[in-house]
């Protein structure tokens, strides 16, 4: 659906990263973890295209004023990387945005009771909080989160509050283990001997490594991808990613927007 949304809050959660809460229509809370929205940051033609953002959270906002009605909301966690996100960062409470969504397929939760491992790299954490919120209702959940420095480790407290056990790794060692998050994941898998289900979102290199680890241990793994997209509904074909059977003779391109953004890692073609 397409709707006008009013910004409720837009705050920095770490240098260069912000969390925005905005109003959503009554149907919106039916969104599934892993889905995304396309946001038009202004009405002008520059920037021209919408920007895709994972849904960080959905819920019902109850204003502090007496007698005010509750309002469904959605939240986005975003990194200020370019012109569009810089404009978003400059917006304030009560500013309006044009939003398309929820779009895409969302994560499959798997069976209840089974251990879940969530792996997030930097801003890849964006769709994983909403996921964790749902998963903790049925399973023990562990979060493996990585970044270059401590500034790239976002919203850990929120995950901990859900009862999620968090493992942090930074490349410069400024928070948690020193090294890559995938090393922490590999170590934990080796130590536990369980067959958990993995959910991952982050840079391609990290996803590639996570897919490799999952394949090695023979455990199910879903990855949420990013892509340059214009439309978000499967028409522009800008955001495609090759499926595992892809070749030029037998094309197997999947749209990140309409076929994903969540894919079974085994369904994709990974660079060797």
């Amino acid at each position: 659906m397409q709707f006008r949304s009013m910004i409720i809050s837009n705050v920095e959660v770490s240098p260069g990263y912000r969390r925005m809460r905005m109003t959503a229509p009554p149907e919106f809370p039916a969104a599934r973890p892993g889905q995304f929205v396309m946001v038009r940051v202004n009405e002008a033609i520059d920037p021209l295209l919408r920007r895709p953002f994972g849904i960080f959270d959905v819920g019902i906002h109850t204003p502090a004023q007496a007698g005010a009605t509750s309002q469904p909301y959605l939240e986005m966690l975003y990194r200020v990387v370019g012109k569009g996100t810089a404009m978003l960062a400059a917006l304030h409470e009560t500013d309006l945005l044009d939003i398309l969504g929820p779009l895409g397929n969302g994560f499959e939760f798997g069976s209840s009771g089974e251990e879940k491992m969530i792996v997030g790299g930097g801003i890849g954490l964006a769709p994983l909080y909403f996921l964790a919120k749902e998963l903790v209702k049925q399973s023990p959940v562990r979060l493996f989160v990585g970044g270059k420095t401590r500034d790239d480790i976002l919203c850990i407290t929120e995950f901990e509050r859900l009862g999620v056990e968090c493992y942090v790794a930074t490349e410069d060692g400024s928070l948690g283990d020193s090294g890559l998050v995938t090393e922490a994941l590999g170590k934990r898998l080796a130590a536990s001997g369980n067959k958990p289900r993995i959910f991952a979102c982050g840079p391609n290199g990290m996803l590639n490594a996570v897919a490799g680890i999952a394949a090695k241990w023979g455990i199910p793994c879903q990855v949420s991808l990013e892509g340059y997209m214009a439309c978000g509904v499967g028409a522009c074909l800008g955001c495609v990613t090759p499926g595992h059977r892809h070749s030029n003779e037998t094309p197997d391109y999947r749209c990140v927007c309409a076929d994903g953004p969540v894919f079974d890692a085994a369904e994709l073609k990974w660079e060797a």
Binding site: D46, L48, L49, Y228, A230, V233, C236, L237, T241
Partner: protein, 304 residues
Amino acid sequence: MKPDLSVTIAGLKLRNPVMTASGTFGYGEEFAEYVDLEAIGAFVTKGLSLKPRAGNPTPRIVETPGGMLNAIGLQNVGIDAFIEKKVPFLRSVATPAIANFFGHTIDEYAELARRLDAIPEVAGLEVNISCPNVKQGGIVFGTDPQCAFDVVSACREATIKPLIVKLSPNVTDIVSMAKSCADAGADALSLINTLTGMAIDLDRRRPVLANITGGLSGPAVKPVALRMVWQVARAVALPIIGIGGIMNARDALEFILAGATAVQVGTASFINPGAAQDIAAGMATWLEENGVDDIKSLIGALEV
């Protein structure tokens, strides 16, 4: 009185002049949730080839000021899958569906025109001549008047359906291209296709698109498109479908004044999936507010 927005183009009667442009509207179905397909004049499918095509590696698109570059590489399901999987949807919509297609040899073009001619759900054909001719050293059909004449003639012989030729703007003289296509038997001309451009990532010292170059579309190209529509409309007797950066009803009406009988909305559908419908509604409002009873009275009515 409600103004009359209906137009006839290449023998196709459209309830209003707003069509969706090839490559920006999938095969119709993708937008069914956002657009009342029966509130627009016609829709044009993603360009079809004989065999499925993978298209280019990514990145395939990049935003530029007031526009976007795309190098999708004509990814499509191919004619067989189109017939099997996409045509049934066309049957369910009471709006003309126009099939866009392309080839790499004249024989491929003719074969596609023949196969599309046989599909009752396809109301008309739009031939994309902005492709390299592999048998003639890769010259783009649509940039050489003789090549364009030959390919359009071959398509003309292969179909009795309305035949629209989509012109490339990447030429020195758009009018001579338009005349060649008219002489070859085109029923209508649609213009413009995207303008070839590129974007560079300075810090990485690399092109942004994997294909290096791509096609520019969006509001940035509108002045070029208007100029070309105006030039062609004055020189060729065929009806014209104006395309290029149309974002709203006013943009669309400017193309009508310049000489277009209908318009196609492309990039705007990416930003607002309901754009084509909104534009058709906005045109009706403008006509009403300005006391124009019939859109046909505005075609080519530019005062110079």
